[in-house]
C-alpha cells in the first residue's frame, strides 16, 4: 500500500502555505520574492500557480514507475515502498538524463553551483516513513492538499466528482497517466492550462517500458551476435586456410609430376 497526495484545486485558496512548509522542511530559502516566483526551481520544489482566479499546484508526481529512476545510470533515484521517489546525491554524477526523461519536467538543477545537485520534491520520505503526513499536507488550511493511502484517495476523488460533477473536470489526473502517479489532481479547468502535459499525449504506458522493450533484448543479443561474428570470422579465415592448403597440395603434386 503506497501513500499519495490528493490536491483538489477547487478547495485551494492560493495561500501558499504549502510553499512555505516545503521550504522549511527542505531548508530552502523563502522570501516575498521567492513567493512571487511562479516557476519551480532548485530552491522551489512546489509552486502554487494562479490563472483567472483559479489555482493549481505543481510538484513531483512521484510516478508509480518513475522515468528518472529508470534512466539514472548510477541509480541515484529510487521509488520507496511508501511511495516517494527519492534522490541520493552521493551517487549522482550530474548527467541530467533524469531531467530530460521526466515527462513532467520536475527535476531541477543547481546550475550556478560548482558541485550541483538535482532538486525536486521528494515527498518528505522521513515523515512518511514515520507515519506522518507530508509538510505541505499538514500546512494546508483548507485540506486542498490531502495525504493518505493512494487507494483511499482515489475513492475520495471519485466521490467528490460524482457528488459535484459541475465543479470538476471529470478526470483524476495521475490515476492512469504514465502508469499512475502518487500525486493525484482534481480541477475545475483543464490541467493543460497550468502546463500539465495532455493525458492523451502521456498515455497510460509506464515510461520505463519504452526502453525496457529494447534493454530486455540485450542479454540475448550479446551471445547471439558474438556467435555470429565469431562464426563469420571462422568461415572467412577457414576459406583462406583451405585455399592455402590446396595450393600447397597442388605444388607437391606438380613437384611429384616433375620428378
Amino acid at each position: 500500500m503506497s501513500k499519495a497526495l490528493l490536491y483538489d484545486a477547487t478547495m485551494c485558496i492560493g495561500c501558499k502555505q504549502c510553499e512555505v512548509a516545503c521550504a522549511q522542511q527542505n531548508k530552502l530559502p523563502y522570501s516575498d520574492e521567492i513567493a512571487a516566483e511562479s516557476v519551480q526551481s532548485e530552491h522551489k520544489y512546489t509552486v502554487v500557480l494562479t490563472k483567472q482566479e483559479k489555482f493549481m499546484r505543481r510538484l513531483c508526481m512521484h510516478c508509480e514507475h518513475p522515468a528518472c529512476a529508470s534512466v539514472c545510470p548510477v541509480g541515484a533515484f529510487h521509488k520507496t515502498a511508501e511511495g516517494p521517489v527519492v534522490y541520493d546525491v552521493w551517487k549522482c554524477i550530474g548527467c541530467r538524463y533524469c531531467m530530460v526523461a521526466c515527462a513532467f519536467a520536475q527535476p531541477k538543477y543547481e546550475w550556478q553551483s560548482l558541485n550541483p545537485r538535482v532538486r525536486k520534491c521528494i515527498m518528505c520520505p522521513d515523515r512518511v516513513k514515520a507515519g506522518q503526513q507530508t509538510a505541505c499536507a499538514e500546512a494546508c488550511p483548507t485540506g486542498a492538499t490531502k495525504f493518505g493511502e493512494r487507494d483511499d484517495l482515489i475513492k475520495e476523488a471519485q466521490s467528490r466528482i460524482q457528488q459535484n460533477p459541475s465543479n470538476y473536470v471529470p478526470h483524476i489526473y495521475g490515476l492512469t497517466e504514465v502508469g499512475g502517479t502518487n500525486v493525484l489532481l482534481l480541477s475545475s479547468v483543464s490541467f493543460e492550462t497550468f502546463g500539465y502535459p495532455k493525458s492523451q499525449k502521456l498515455g497510460d504506458t509506464p515510461l520505463p517500458e519504452y526502453t525496457g522493450r529494447v534493454m530486455s533484448k540485450i542479454p540475448d543479443f550479446i551471445p547471439l551476435w558474438s556467435l555470429v561474428l565469431g562464426g563469420v570470422y571462422w568461415i572467412t579465415h577457414r576459406r583462406e586456410d583451405v585455399a592455402a592448403a590446396e595450393a600447397e597440395e597442388k605444388k607437391l603434386e606438380n613437384e611429384d609430376g616433375a620428378r
Partner: protein, 398 residues
Amino acid sequence: MNFKPTLWKVVFVVIICLGIYSAYVRYAHGLGAVSNMSDQFPWGIWIGFDVLCGVMLAAGGFIVTGAVHLLNIERLHSVVRPTVLTAFLGYCLVIVGLFFDLGRPWFIWHQIFYRNPHSVMFEVGFCVMFYTTVLFFEFLPNVLERFHLHTPLRWVKGIMAGLVVAGILLSTLHQSSLGALYLIMPSKLHPFWYTPALPFFFFGSAVAVGLAMTIFESSLSSRAFGRQLELPVLIELGGVLLVVLWVNALLRVEDFFHRDQFANIVKPSYEAYFLWLELALAFVIPITLLSFKKVRRSPNGLYLASVICLLGFVTNRLNVSVTGFETWVGHHYVPKLTEFMITLAIIATGFALFGLAVKYLPIFPEVQSAEEVEAPVEVIASNAIPAPVFVEVENAGD
C-alpha cells in the same frame, strides 16, 4: 620540422586559447555561467554534438576493422589504420567532452560502482568504456611499430581477432543505444524524430557516417600531409556508402509512412525546415552526387559527397537532441559562445592530434610525401647544413 605560423596554426592557437578560457569559466563558475543550458534544456550541444555526433563520427573504426579482419576483405587493409586512429581519438575526445558536460565529473567512476542495469545511459557508458579500451589496443601497433617493439606487437596481433569481434559487438550495442536514450520521451520529442525505430536509425546512420568519415579524413590528410589512401579503395568505399545511404533513406521513408507523418512533413513548420535540411544533406544531395559515376570516381567528388553526408547526419543528431524538444519546451535553445568554444576546441584538438599521429606514426601506407621531400632541400639551400646531418634527422623522424 618547421614552425612557420600558417593560417591554420594561428586559428588553432586562437581556438585553443578561447577553449581554455571557457574551461576556466566552466570550472570556476559552473554550468550555468558557461552555457545556455537550463532546467528546460538540460542537454545542449555538449551532448547533442560532442557525445552524439562524436560517437557517430568515430563509427568508422568498427566498420572497417570488421570488413578487413572479419570479412577478410584484404584490399581495404590500408584503410584500417587511419580509421582506427580517428575512432580512438574520437572516443577519447567524447570522454574529454563529458568532463565538461557532467555536473559532477569527479564522480564519473560511480558509473562502475553504482550500476543501474535498467538505464540505457549505463549501457552506453559501459560500452564506451570497454570500446575505448579495445580501440587503444587496436591503435597500439602503430606505436609499437614506430619504436620497433616486436614482442608486444606479436601479442597484440595475437588477440586482434578477439578485439575486432568485441569492438563490433560493443559498437552495435552503444551506437544503437544512443538512439534508445530518447525512447523514454514519447511525449516530449517531436514526432518527426520520435520513433520506436530510433535505435535502428542511429545504428544505420553510424554505418553511413563511418564510411563517409573514412573518405573525408583520407581526402583531408592528402591535402594537408600529402598522405592518403589509394583511389580505388576510396571509390569502393564511395560505392558502399551509396548503398548504405539508400538503405537508410528507404527505412526513414518507411518509418514516416508507417507513422502517418507524410502530411506533416510537407507542411512548412519550424521543425519541417530542419527536417528538410537534414534529409537534403544526409540523403538527397549525397545520393544524387554518388549516383554519377564521374563523381564516384573523382577524389574531389567523393570528398564533397562525404562532407555533405556528414553534415546531414550531424544535423540529424542535433535535430533529435535539440530541435525536437523546442516545441515541447516552448522556446529556443542557442548555445552560449563559451559553449561553442569548448566544442570547437575539442574538434581542433582532434584535428591536431590526427595530424601529429599521421606525421609521426605509420598510419598511411606511403611514408615519403611531397612535403617531406621538399623540406630538406629548402633547408639545405638556405642554411647550407652538411648532408650527413640530414640523414640522421631523416632517420629520427621515420
